[in-house]
Every structure is written in C-alpha cells, then in structure tokens.
Amino acid sequence: MSDSDTIAAIATAPGEGGVAIVRVSGARAFDIADAVFICHHPPPSRRPGGTFIFGKVIDSDGAILDEALLLLMRAPRSYTREDTIEIQGHGSPVVARRILQRVVSAGARVAEPGEFTKRAFLNGRLDLAQAEAVADLIRARSDRAASAAVAQLEGSLSRQINALYDALIETAANVEATLDFSDQEIPEGVLNPVIGELDRIIANLHAVLSTWNEGHLLREGATVVIAGKPNVGKSTLLNALLGRNRAIVSSQPGTTRDTIEESVVLGGYPITLIDTAGLRETDCAIELEGISRATRELAGADLCLYVVGSPYGPDDEDFRVIETIPRDKLIIIFNKADILNYYNIFANNYHSFIYTSAMTGLGLDDLRAAIIRKFDHDAPHPDHHATISTRHRSLIESAIQAVEAALIEMKKESGAIDLAAAQLREAIESLGAITGRIYHDDLLKSVFGRFCIGK
C-alpha cells in the first residue's frame, strides 16, 4: 500500500453546480470513508474497487451533512494509483466545504495545489508532459483548448519531442565519435551528415515552437484591445461584442478613464476584451493615466481593434498610433457606419478593416469572423493538436539556440568540436527536461507549482 499520507480536496470548480466532489487519496482513504459515510452493509472499505455506493455523509456527532454517492477506487486503479474515494454531494459550496472539513477531521490533510497530479506522476502514471497537460486541462477555458490538452495528455507532444530527442542523440553520437576516436579509427565523413541533420532538427524544433502561439492563445486566452480616439464608440463596441452593457457609454468624450476587461469565447478561443481610454491630448491627470495604461495594453495585445469614428478615415493622430501596431495584429474598425458616410479613402490592401455599427449591430458578425480568422492564422498547424506551454517554449528555444551554436562551431574552419559537442549536450538536456528524461529536482517543483488544487 501507499507510503504517503492521505490528501483531500474539493475537486469541482468553486461556485454553484449540479454536483460537488470531494476527492480523498492515500493509504487511509478507505478508513476515512468508513468513518464519514454510512450506507448498507458492507462498509465502503470492504467493497470492491470501481463501485458506487449510495449513503449519507455524517459529522463526528452523527449529524447528517449530505446525501451523497461514494465512488471507490482501489490502488493502483485510480488517477493517483493510490486508494481513492470520491464523495459526490449536492452542489452547494458550503456543503462541499463541510464534507472536506469532516474528511480532514477523520485523518486526511488538505492537498497542496497540484498534489493529486504530482502523486500520479510520482507513482509512474504520467510522464512530465502528460502531467502538465492535466494542469492545462483543468484550466482550459473552452472546448477547443480542452481538446488540445487531451491530445497532449495522450502523449503527442511527448512523441514529437522524444523523436527529436532521439534524432539529436544520434547526431550528437556522431560528433562524440570523432572526439573519442582518432581519424584513422573511424570511417571518413562521419561528420558529413551532421550539419544537414542539425538543420533538420532546428526546423522541426521551430515547427513545434510555432504551436506555442496556438497553445498560448488556447491556454491563457487571447488579449484583444479596443483602442482609438475618444468618443468613437469603443465602449459601445465592447458591449456589442459581449452582448450586454458592461461599459458605461455616453456621448461625452473621455467617459472611459480606466481600462475595462471582460471575457468572451469566440470560435473556441477564450478572449479577454479590453476597452481602453480614448487616446488624446489632455491635461486631466486621471485621463492621462488611463491613456498611458491604454498604450501599455496595446503593446501586449494579441490583437488590436482600432476604432475610427470620422467619415474622413484615420487622421495623422490615428496613424501615429496605428503605425506602432504590427500589421498582423491590427483590425481597423470604421464604426458608426450607419450614420457616417465613409468615403472610399482607405481602400488599400495594406490593413484589414471592417465597417461596423456597434449601435445597430451592422458588421459585427464580420468582425467576429475576422477575429477568429486572425487567431486561426496564428495557429497554422491544424494537425499539431498538441500545444506547448511557456516552460516548453523556453526549453525548446534554448535547445534551438544550443543547436545553432553547435552548427556555428561545426561550420567554422578552426571550430572546436568539443565545444560543438558541449552545445549538443545542452540541447539534449533541454529536450529531455520536457518529457522528464533527465532528473532535475527544480523541474518537478516548477511544474507542480502551477497546479490548481484538486487535481
């Protein structure tokens, strides 16, 4: 049986729901079940794994806390590979917390963030990449994100990285061979295929890296900033995209002084919409601060909707802002198209632009479609379902850097092959760190620190 103490947590998301689950894992899980749960004979600890039992959760004084189902999983046939019970009560957060308290008073300890998954990992059920995918699955905010997380869980990232890891090991072995044997001992031209092979590995690493954009959008969600001069209808546009009145709107320029954030799901992408203060020359300190925040948001945005509200199109002041935004992150909105008679002054192919009326709903579907298209474009590999996290990204980037440095040494006339070999070892270590093929204590810590409680 397991050697570790018994942990418990509320496994369902906070808030009102149909059902609230308290999960308990560890050597004492069944003892705890017997203590807190009454049901028909036999008691839970004497029932086979995989059974549901109907009964009641009772407090230490015998008072009934809730009617509940108890799911019993025997080691190793559970997520953590330990004895596990799940108490499924009615969905009140208050009741869920009382059940958790009861379980703790019966001998469990409240789990640390990510501890269930950590145990699954330590007990050999998951590799590191899979464990991270579970973290993403829990945090996934839309169906689309969830399916990418599932693909990673099934090891598609692990497979890709492992294949590259093996290729790198094989290539590095050729380099190592030239170091450990004199020229006469090894066949000529052992190094010939190395440069081509390293180029190929770099290309593949870049391909994996490009899925980061998609992964990042799906995981953290995309940030879409609405910007423009005052009183062009930015807040009205926010409300229209949200489908409810979130921001105060008025005909007064400068109504929005601070940035406003709201979430919306578009085409499967979790999106944070940010409405900003209108950009203009002003002496008002509050408005100035609002404008400087707006500028900061623009810099970090995945997409900017720059709203124009004049029939003459963007003026010099608008262009000063527009030109600071990368073209592929910009959609120009000609708003109030219902009342303004826009001239075709802006008919170039250089910028994406859309005519809308946030008031009447004109052009809003076009805008939504354009936003989704834009994010689909950032996710250029429809078959790369697995997506990578920020940690993966920095490891892959350092692997690429190391392989590139190795290539430079290899291509130099007087290049030191021992340095090239050292770089290749770095790259191998970086890739191995993704799937846990190299032991590294810090790695485990950094991976498991990110988990939310319950799984």
Partner: protein
C-alpha cells in the same frame, strides 16, 4: 624475511597495472604492503598493446600522475614514441599516446617496487580470501599458509579462470605462457559475489625484420614529446635550457643500464607505420569464420565493442573495403612488432594467411599467434565508490576483475583501491573521487552504478563535464587530493601552488591591462590569439601557466556554465541513502527500479539516479523516503517506514 608471521596493512593480489599502482600507493602512504604475484619478473608486463594513453585513457594517466601514481612516469621514461591525439579538436579531448618499450616498461616498474620502502613482493598464488565476521582478514597462499592483512586488494586481471583460445584449441591460462587461477574465483563465488564472463583478445606478434616498410606509410613521433608526467616534463625543460635545445646525440641505447632512467625521456623516438587490409584479407577471414574461437561459438564471454577483433570488423562493418593496421615496434631491443588492429582468435595457419595478404606483411614471420582470452569478472555494482566490496568489509577490487579493459583503467582503479585499502587499514574514511572532479570518478561511478555488460573502456564522452575535466588541468583539479594523500613530493606540491598563484596573477594582469581599448584578457579570447601575443617579457610565465590561461580565456563562458551545472548536480550527490533502507517496502517505486536499487544499493541519491532502469519519478519518490526516514530518525518515531 618471514612473511607469514607478519600482519600486513594491505595485501595486493596481482602484479598487473592495477596491482602495482595499488601496492605502490599503499606503501608510499606508509602502510606495510605485500604484493602477491606468481612471478616477480612479470610485474608490470604489457600483455597486449605496448602503449600507454589514448583518447580518454591519457586523462586517467595524467590524473594518476597528479596524485602520485607511477604509470605516467613509467611510460615517459620507457617511451619510444610520443604523440598528441585530437590536437585540433579542442583542448577537452586532446590526448597523449606513448608507445613504450615492452622490455623496459616492466623492468622499470619492478625496480621502482624493489626500491620502495614498506613493500614486499611475495611469489605465490592466492587461493582464498580469509573472512571473519564479514571482514577480510587475510589470504591463504598456494601452500595453504595464511597471510594476514588488514585490507586486501584483488587485482587479478584476466587470471580468474582464464581460458585462452586460438582457433578451435583452447587451454587454461592467465596470459599466454602463464597459468590461470581457479580457486580464487571459486572462493569469490562462495562468498556470494555475482560473477560473469568477459573476453578480450590480442593480435599476433611479428618479427620486425620480416616486414617491408617501404610499402607502408610512416608515422613518426612528435619533435617535442608530449609527456604525461610532471617529472619527465621538468627534466626535458631543464635539459633543453641547459643544452640550448641540442639533442644528446652522444647517448646510445647500449648505455641503458639504469632501469629507472634507461635513457633521457623522449630521446631517440622510433617510427610506427600504417598499412591496410584489402578484399583478399577479408575473404580469408570470411572463409574461416567457422574456425574462429569467437565466431565458432567456443567463447561465451562478451567482447569489447570498441576494440573489435578483426573478425568483428569484417562481420559487422562488411561495407568497408579496407581497415587500418598500425605497425608498432615493441621496443628498442625487441625484435617484435605489434600489428595493431589484427586481434583475432583464428587458427594459426589462417592467421598467417590473413596477415600475409596485407601490404608490407607478405613475408611476415610469426613470433606468436593472436589469441582470445576469457576470464571471470565480478559485477562491479557490488562495490562502493571507494572500490571496497559491499559484501565483505576491507576487501577491494580493481582492474579487469571489475570488468574493465586497458592498462590505464586498471591503473586508475588500482591507485584508488590501494589508497582506500591503506586508509581502511589505518581506520580512516575513504577518499572518494566524483564525476565532477576526475575521469577516475567518472569511471568508478559508471562501474558501481551501471555495472558492465562488455569490457569497460574510458571515453571522453562518458564525462558529462568534459570541458572542465581536461588532461592539461589534472594537476589543478586534483591538487587538493594530492595534498591529502601526501604521496606526491612536497617540492612538487609547492610547484603546484606556485603555478596556481602564477595563473591568478597573470590573469589579473591581463584583465587590468588594455590594448586598443580592450583588456588583454579579451584579446586572448580571440580564436587566433596566443598567449605570447599578450605576454609580458618581464614576468614571462611557464608554458604550463600560459596554456591554462589560453584555455581559460577562450573557454571562459563554457567553463563557467559547466561549473554552475556541477554545483547544481552536486546537491543530489550529497544526499546519502541510509544503509538500512528496505526497497521492497517502497511499493510506489516501479518494480523493476526497486529490484535494481535492491541489487545495487547505491550510496547516494546521485548514484541511484544513474542506475539504468531507475527513472526520475523513482528518484523523486526515493528522495521523499530518505527525507522521511531522516526526520523519523530525528523525532525518534518508531515503527514508521
């Protein structure tokens, strides 16, 4: 002297390269030491290739020299050709190979042993290890008489149940013409050691006057011999200052009477040659594979992948039309030639046909055929990092008995085992070498954590911190260890210190003096820059110091990164696993890993992490357990796992 009545501190069994290093180290540390061998004239014999060094191997020899071993000096003083290998592949893999005089090499070692205080040579066959209460207390000799010792080093080479094969005939023997030892092997099995079988081989020996050297490519030594030992380097430098670079042409080999210094080191180098096999050679081998001891199924032991027999080369690398054969003289006075690359176990007549198909060897006269030898080894995972066995206290093992191949690997282990046997006898804790400080540490850690499934040979790629563990800085890396051991002379130790101080001073001079806007240190970092470009005529440092500064400057970034990694890796190396840990009870560790851990019983978490089959998750669980055991100990909680 009546050896039997005396209790030795250390008894070393075997007079090969592991044996003499062990015995010398122990005796030089002041311990009463006995070296047991069958024939004192066979001590230090080079049973295979008459050369010392090679890539990865010369790193070990340089380390031995820094610590006070004898191998480097012995090679330098009896060397007949000196070469640097990998000179253009970077300093980390630069290596030295010394062709030695096959007669003088053992002769010199024997003389060194004869003149070393505290060291007795006893000619006998050790038949049994005497064990009392789990501790080795002596050995039983051929005649049944006991010989008491506080610590025993087993360095028996290929003699344990050795069996020699030439074609289909085979006979018992430790080397050609020498008898094997069976009872000791039986004794080890009785004591509970897991034993296995390995094989190695050696080429035929040819008469030097029967070869046509015109058909071969000559391979001369280097003008300035790259010595492996501090002493030979010093002597050469001194000599060349005094003689103003003029060679001592007046010296003749006939004068070689002093076995300690038969000739000035580096003097009168001899040539080697290169020739090649051809399709006819390969055809002869292919046609007779069935008669080869190795391919005919006569040998059960596993051979060396890295030093393949010529049969192996033809079978496994059939797509190569030709293989290099190195023609190496065995010494100044010797008539024997060692055709390196033709190791085989074919019948003698086939060997003759095969050799004579090679250009330059058409009229070769055989002095001895090549042969294969199988022998018993003891699974080295049964050792701790001190090379003491985990099963029997005060019993140490070194060299081929641990599944290694090569004089250098043997000598390295012999030295470490000798040192630790001496420390055991004196009741001191062992001196452990780690992967972070030396190739010695890399080799021993590989052996005790991973074991061997073929004869183990050193490679630079086995060292993860290769850029830091260079041959050129062995004396810096191991200076502190050398001081602890006290085998190296105080004069040399203070030379180490002076050179280290000179490096520091020169470095700060370079960092604080500028030329065209950049410091001289930055200047030296340029790939084409040499130390002479930035040298200060007033305080010109030695070549040794200049070399370190050049490498340090050019590799600074890399070295800093390696050192940071070492510091990080060091954490789990310092987590010791309690001896009483019961792996069977840690059911969360994978079954396979649990078995491996139970079998190997690693000393530290770092060792555990390197055992094949133990994955990171297992190590993480083990870390948690160690932590828990320790806190349970602290709290005095009984009954907890």
């Amino acid at each position: 002297m009546d050896a039997c009545s005396k209790e030795y501190d250390v008894i070393v069994i075997g007079g090969g390269h592991a044996g003499y290093e062990a015995a010398l180290a122990s005796a030089r540390m002041g311990c009463q030491t006995a070296l047991i061998c069958m024939d004192r004239n066979a001590i230090g014999r080079m049973s295979c290739n008459p050369s010392i060094g090679g890539i990865g191997k010369s790193h070990i020899v340089a380390e031995l020299d820094a610590l006070g071993g004898e191998m480097a000096r012995n090679a330098d003083y009896t060397g007949i050709q000196f070469r640097t290998l990998n000179s253009r592949k970077g300093p980390a893999v630069r290596a030295t190979r010394i062709q030695c005089d096959k007669q003088w090499f053992p002769k010199r070692i024997q003389e060194v042993i004869r003149s070393t205080p505290n060291l007795d040579v006893i000619e006998t066959v050790a038949s049994e290890i005497i064990v009392s209460n789990g501790r080795a207390i002596g050995i039983r000799m051929e005649d049944g008489a006991p010989l008491r010792g506080k610590a025993i080093v087993l360095a028996t080479g290929t003699f344990l149940s050795g069996k020699i094969h030439v074609g289909k005939s085979s006979w018992a023997g430790g080397r050609i013409g020498e008898k094997a030892s069976y009872s000791l092997s039986e004794c080890l099995k009785r004591l509970g050691f897991r034993m296995g079988r390995l094989k190695t081989g050696t080429p035929p020996r040819l008469h030097k006057d029967s070869l046509n050297y015109d058909k071969m490519e000559v391979q001369p030594g280097e003008q300035t011999p790259p010595f492996l030992s501090w002493d030979a380097r010093r002597e050469w430098e001194k000599f060349h200052v005094e003689q103003n670079g003029c060679q001592s042409a007046m010296f003749h080999v006939e004068q070689a009477t002093d076995p300690i210094r038969p000739w000035p080191p580096g003097w009168g180098q001899m040539n080697c040659w290169i020739t090649h096999t051809n399709e006819r050679t390969h055809e002869i081998i292919r046609r007779n594979l069935g008669d080869s001891a190795m391919y005919g199924g006569m040998i059960e032991g596993i051979g060396v992948r890295y030093c393949p027999s010529i049969e192996d080369k033809i079978v496994k690398f059939g797509h190569h039309d030709t293989h290099h054969i190195f023609i190496e003289p065995e010494g100044r006075g010797s008539i024997e030639i060692y055709p390196n690359g033709t190791s085989n176990s074919l019948p003698e007549n086939v060997q003759i046909d095969m050799i004579r198909s090679i250009p330059g060897l058409e009229r070769a006269i055989f002095i001895r055929p090549g042969y294969a030898i199988e022998y018993d080894y003891s699974d080295p995972t049964q050792l701790s990092a001190s090379l003491e066995t985990k099963l029997i206290e005060a019993l140490f093992m070194a060299g081929q008995i641990n599944g290694t191949t090569g004089y250098e690997e043997a000598g390295g282990q012999g030295f470490v085992a000798g040192v630790n046997a001496a420390r055991k006898a004196r009741g001191e804790p062992p001196l452990i070498f780690s992967r972070n400080d030396s190739y010695l540490g890399v080799m021993i850690d590989d052996l005790v954590t991973k074991g061997v499934d073929e004869p183990y040979r050193m490679f630079t790629s086995r060292a993860e911190h290769r850029l830091v563990l260079r041959q050129d800085n062995a004396w810096i890396r191991l200076a502190d260890r050398a001081r602890i051991l006290g085998i190296v002379s105080p004069e040399r130790l203070s030379e180490y210190s002076r050179a280290q101080i000179a490096i520091e001073q020169e470095r700060s001079r370079l960092e604080t003096n500028f030329r065209s806007g950049i410091s001289l240190w930055q200047w030296l970092k340029r790939p084409e820059a040499r130390f002479d470009d930035v040298a200060d005529e007033a305080s010109k440092p030695s070549r040794l110091v200049a070399e370190q500064l050049e490498i340090d400057a050019k590799y600074e970034g890399y070295i800093a990164r390696e050192l940071a990694k070492i510091a990080k890796a060091d954490v789990i190396e310092k987590i010791y696993i309690p001896h009483n840990i019961d792996y069977k009870s840690i059911t969360t560790i994978k079954h396979e890993a649990r078995e491996k851990l139970q079998r190997t019983r690693p000393e530290t978490l770092g060792q555990a992490a390197r055992i094949p089959g133990v994955n990171p998750a297992d190590v993480a669980i083990l870390a948690v357990w160690i932590e828990r055991l320790r806190s349970a100990d602290k709290e005095g909680v009984a009954g907890r796992p």
